[in-house]
Symmetry: C2
Subunit: 104 residues, 2 copies
């Protein structure tokens, strides 16, 4: 296992008028925020955040998934990224308030 924490951020963009989607713009901004803060905190070895496609949990989007533990976060905003990093990535304490209810 190359990554101790591997973070996947949905950037899927559905067409206008389709059901809700995580969104390319929002997903890309989240990915950039993860990368920026992880770099600032020195979390560049053994951890990686990257964009991904649809996780089929669109109604809870924007979605962030952390493996290997398989924790699924929903409705993630830019302001949540620092907490996910400091609590979950650095201290192995998933952020309860962002967990997708039906998966908890």
């Amino acid at each position: 296992m190359i990554y101790k924490k591997h973070i996947f951020i949905c950037t899927n963009q559905r067409p206008e008028g389709a059901r809700v989607s995580c969104g390319e713009e929002h997903g890309s901004a989240l990915t950039a925020e993860f990368k920026k803060l992880m770099k600032e905190k020195g979390l560049t070895v053994g951890m990686r955040a990257q964009r991904t496609g649809c996780c089929e949990l669109c109604e809870y989007g924007p979605i962030v998934v952390v493996y290997p533990e398989g924790v699924f976060y929903g409705k993630v905003q830019l302001s949540d990224v620092n907490e996910i990093i400091s609590e979950h990535l650095q201290n192995d304490r998933p952020v309860d308030r962002l967990l997708i209810p039906k998966l908890s």
Copy 2:
């Protein structure tokens, strides 16, 4: 953990002339092949294959990652997909010949 097997297939395309990349066309074809064969084999509940961005293992591309176990496959061709599904996804036997050497 929503997925018993969550398969991420790199579709990252670098510009012409840049270092090797997994490639959007090849990655998308791999993703389609996984989806098609998994559907045919009835593996649509608890498993999901989807595209993802760069895993930073470009020299071993095209890359396929299977979580939660964190198995990284390299140089994956369309003809390898059936074996990954039947051996790894269905029988929990990772396909040794496709494992990325430095990560085994």
